[in-house]
C-alpha cells in the first residue's frame, strides 16, 4: 500500500542508515529515498560506502532518472533532490536551505506532494532542525511518520525538533525501524 520510503539524517545517522540498508531484502518492494547531509565538495566515496553492506542497490541518481522499487537513491553532494510528478528524480543547485544542500526539508516536502498518504517518512539522528518541517508535510498529506528514538540518537536535535513540530506516528529504535520496513510487502 505504500509507494516510497524517504529517510533523512545528518550527524550520527551513517551507521543507522548502513544497518537499515543491510537489513533490506533484494526484493524490497519500494524505492528508498535518502536525503542525508554530507560534505559538499566530496563527490565520491559515500555511495560506495553505503553500497558495501546494502541489501538493495544504492545509486546517486542523475536528474530525470525514473524511480524504481528495490533501489535506494542517495541525494548527490551539493544538490537538492526533489521528487517530481511522474515518479522521477529532479535535482537542483538552488541556494542551500538551513545551510544544507541537500535539504532534507525539500526532499520530504516534494516526496509528500507526489506520494501523499503512500509515503513513509523517517527522520534519524542529526544536529540541526532540517527535516522537521518536511516530516510535518508528510504527516499533513497523510503519510506515515517515524522518528528514531532520541534516546538512541548520537545527536538528537533533529528528531526532537521533528517531534516538537509533528505528532509523529512512531518513535522507533533502529531495530524497530528495521522490523517495520521488513514487514512491508
Amino acid at each position: 500500500m505504500y509507494k516510497a520510503v524517504i529517510i533523512g539524517g545528518s550527524a550520527g545517522s551513517f551507521q543507522v542508515i548502513t544497518r537499515i540498508l543491510h537489513s533490506l531484502p533484494p526484493t524490497f518492494p519500494l524505492p528508498v529515498l535518502l536525503s542525508l547531509h554530507r560534505l559538499k565538495h566530496v563527490r565520491s566515496g559515500f555511495v560506495e560506502a553505503l553500497s558495501i553492506k546494502s541489501g538493495i542497490p544504492v545509486v546517486e541518481p542523475f536528474d530525470k532518472d525514473q524511480i524504481k522499487p528495490g533501489r535506494a537513491y542517495l541525494a548527490p553532494a551539493n544538490y537538492h533532490m526533489f521528487i517530481e510528478l511522474g515518479n522521477k528524480i529532479a535535482l537542483s543547485t538552488e541556494e542551500p536551505v538551513n545551510h544544507s544542500r541537500p535539504s532534507i526539508d525539500l526532499s520530504f516536502v516534494t516526496a509528500a506532494q507526489v506520494y501523499r498518504d503512500k509515503l513513509v517518512g523517517i527522520i534519524l539522528s542529526g544536529a540541526n532542525r532540517d527535516g522537521a518541517y518536511g516530516l510535518k508535510k508528510v504527516k499533513d498529506l497523510g503519510g506515515l511518520t517515524i522518528v528514531q528514538d532520541p534516546l538512541e540518537c548520537q545527536v538528537k536535535t533533529m528528531t526532537e525538533a521533528s517531534m516538537k513540530l509533528t505528532k509523529v506516528d512512531h518513535v522507533y529504535s533502529t531495530n524497530e525501524i528495521i522490523k517495520f520496513l521488513q514487514s512491508i510487502k
Binding site: H41, R43, E60, P61, F62, D63, K64, D65, P76, N78, Y79, F82, I83, E84, L85, A90, L91, S92, T93, E94, E95, V97, N98, D105, L106, T110, Q113, Y133
Partner: protein, 276 residues
C-alpha cells in the same frame, strides 16, 4: 524553510500571465523547482497572494525583470566542481585552441556570472583570454547588469576561495576581486571581450560554429521536452568534434540526443559531437 505554498493551478496561472504579457513561455520548466522559485519570490516580496503577484507582473517590465532574475536559479558558487574546471584547463581548452584561430565558446546556461568569471580566470591563467571568442547567455537584464559590474556575494567568498584552491590555480583567488564596504566586486576587465546573448526559453538565439558549449545544471530545471529541445540546440550550435559540457548529474542518456555524441569524460559529463 518557506511557509508560503502555491498549487499547480496557481503556478500555471502565473506562467500564463507572463506569456500573455511578455511572450516568455515557461511551460516546459520542471514544475517542482519552478513552483518553489515562485513561492520564494512571493515570500521575499512580502506579497499577500498569487493574484497580487500576477497583477504586479502585468503592471511593469522592471518588476518582471526582477521576477525573471529571481526564478532562474543562480549557481551561487564559482568553480563549482573544481575537478571539472581542472579537466577543462588541462585537457579540453588546450585541445580546442590548438590549430583554431579564436574558437568560439558558448556559456549557454542562464548564469549569474559565476561560471563566466570562473572560465575567464582559467583562460587568463592560460594566457588564452584574448585567444577565444566568449559568448554568454543571459535571461534577465538585471542579471546582465550584475555580471557586467562584477557584483558577487560576499557570503560565497569562502566557498569560492576553497574551490579555487582545489582547482590549483596559478595565483591566488584574491587577485581577481576587491572588497569594499562589505561587498565583493570581481575584476570585470576579465569579461571585457564577452559577447552577451539575450536568450529566450527557446534557446534559439545562440552563436553557430561553436567549439565548446558549457550547459551545466540547466536541464535540471526543464521538463523532458525542453531538455531535449535545448540539448538539440546545443548540438546544432556545435561544430563536429565540438564539446558539450553538462552538469555532473545531468546525463545525455536522459535525453534524445544520446546517439549524437560520444562520452569524453563520464564523471564530469563531458561529451563530444560526433563527426558524421
Amino acid at each position: 524553510m518557506i511557509r508560503f505554498e502555491i498549487g499547480i493551478v496557481d503556478t500555471r496561472n502565473v506562467l500564463k500571465a507572463i506569456l500573455d504579457a511578455y511572450g516568455y513561455d515557461f511551460k516546459d520548466y520542471a514544475l517542482t523547482s519552478l513552483k518553489r522559485r515562485i513561492e520564494l519570490f512571493v515570500a521575499n516580496e512580502g506579497l499577500r497572494d498569487i493574484d497580487t503577484l500576477i497583477s504586479r507582473l502585468q503592471q511593469g517590465k522592471d518588476y518582471f525583470e526582477r521576477f525573471l532574475q529571481s526564478i532562474t536559479p543562480e549557481t551561487t558558487e564559482m568553480f563549482r566542481d573544481p575537478s571539472l574546471w581542472r579537466n577543462l584547463r588541462d585537457h579540453i581548452l588546450p585541445d580546442i585552441t590548438k590549430g583554431t584561430t579564436r574558437p568560439k565558446i558558448w556559456l549557454a546556461g542562464f548564469d549569474s556570472g559565476e561560471q563566466l568569471y570562473s572560465l575567464a580566470i582559467i583562460l587568463k591563467e592560460m594566457n588564452l583570454l584574448t585567444e577565444v571568442q566568449l559568448y554568454a547567455s543571459y535571461i534577465s537584464d538585471f542579471t546582465l547588469e550584475k555580471i557586467k559590474n562584477g557584483t558577487a556575494d560576499i557570503k560565497q567568498l569562502e566557498v569560492n576561495e576553497a574551490n579555487y584552491s582545489r582547482l590549483e590555480g596559478k595565483g591566488s583567488f584574491s587577485d581577481y576581486y576587491k572588497t569594499a564596504n562589505g561587498t565583493v566586486t570581481l575584476d570585470n576587465q576579465l569579461i571585457q571581450g564577452v559577447n552577451f546573448v539575450k536568450q529566450t526559453p527557446a534557446f534559439d538565439q545562440g552563436p553557430g560554429g561553436v567549439k565548446m558549449v558549457l550547459f551545466r545544471n540547466q536541464t535540471i530545471y526543464f521538463n523532458q521536452l525542453l531538455t531535449d529541445r535545448s540539448v538539440n540546440a546545443m548540438y546544432n550550435a556545435l561544430v563536429p568534434g565540438g564539446y558539450l559540457v553538462l552538469g555532473i548529474k545531468e546525463s545525455l542518456e536522459n535525453t534524445n540526443s544520446n546517439n549524437k555524441f560520444t562520452v569524453v569524460n563520464e564523471s564530469e559529463q563531458i561529451y563530444k559531437k560526433k563527426t558524421l
